[in-house]
């Protein structure tokens, strides 16, 4: 299942860069929340419910500026998705952020070592998202 919507646009003349973020989470509640957080910061968000669908979308539309994914998902974890993205010559430059409701240092380190941009603990706060996005925009 995929859904996509634009956040508000800046007024003409303002070159406010809008990120296209791909949010991956098997929980519909968490997808709704992360999408809302990102759209409130005026970014374009596409949500998918699995790593498999994320890769399908990335194959079709490489204009994604950031991937934010849940860690625990059935069939393909966020870590496995991260690895596939980093192993791909076309996708490896896309920053990948991992989210998890569990604070497990080994897990966090493993993800960062594999090339994750950041690791966010759920529930994700507006400040986490704005911090992340302002880093992406530099």
């Amino acid at each position: 299942m995929m859904s996509s919507a634009r956040g508000g646009k800046g007024t003409s003349g303002e070159a406010e860069r809008e990120l296209h973020v791909l949010a991956v989470d098997d929980s519909s509640v968490d997808r709704a929340v992360i999408a809302k957080l990102l759209r409130s910061s005026k970014h374009r968000v596409t949500t998918v419910d699995s790593g498999k669908r994320a890769l399908e979308l990335l194959g079709l539309e490489p204009n994604v500026n950031m991937i934010i994914t849940d860690y625990w998902m059935p069939e393909m974890t966020g870590y496995e998705l991260l690895k596939k993205v980093k192993e791909s010559s076309t996708l490896k430059e896309i920053p990948v952020v991992i989210m998890s409701s569990e604070n497990v240092p080994n897990r966090i380190n493993r993800c960062l070592e594999e090339g994750a941009e950041d690791f966010l603990l759920k529930p994700v706060r507006p400040s986490d998202v704005s911090r992340l996005c302002s880093r992406m925009m530099r």
Partner: protein
């Protein structure tokens, strides 16, 4: 007048959900996300929660191995979810977690004992 009474009732209801521990800090964060662009955001997310949790509980029910207390708690919990009864659902959910933990401990002890006892005829129905 009517409207102002309703608003008071709604505010009281909301406060009581927090006071009685049915809702916590995370719910505030959801409320803060609601705005003119998504004026029903909180209700939408709550609806998703009940839909998903009913399905997850139903999944647990299907994988049950004869765990009847857990199963009963699941059934009740799912009914509350279907009715969108937040209070009932959360109470039952806590009960479900407790039953799950207790069963885990009890079965853990049982299997530990079985390992010491070795193979034996166990497939007999307890007299009820």
């Amino acid at each position: 007048m009517e409207y102002s009474n309703l608003r008071h009732r709604a505010a009281d209801m909301r406060k009581s959900l927090f006071d009685q521990g049915y809702l916590d800090e995370q719910f505030y964060q959801l409320e803060e996300l609601q705005d003119e662009v998504s004026p029903n955001f909180v209700e939408e997310v709550v609806t998703l929660f009940f839909r998903d949790s009913a399905r997850l509980i139903s999944n647990i029910e299907q994988t049950l191995i004869g765990a009847s207390r857990v199963k009963n708690a699941c059934t009740l919990c799912r009914e509350y979810c279907d009715e969108k009864n937040l209070e009932g659902c959360l109470k039952l959910f806590h009960k479900l977690k407790r039953e799950h933990a207790v069963l885990r401990q009890k079965l853990g002890s049982y299997f530990q004992l079985l390992r010491q006892v070795g193979p034996m005829e166990i497939a007999t129905r307890p007299s009820m």
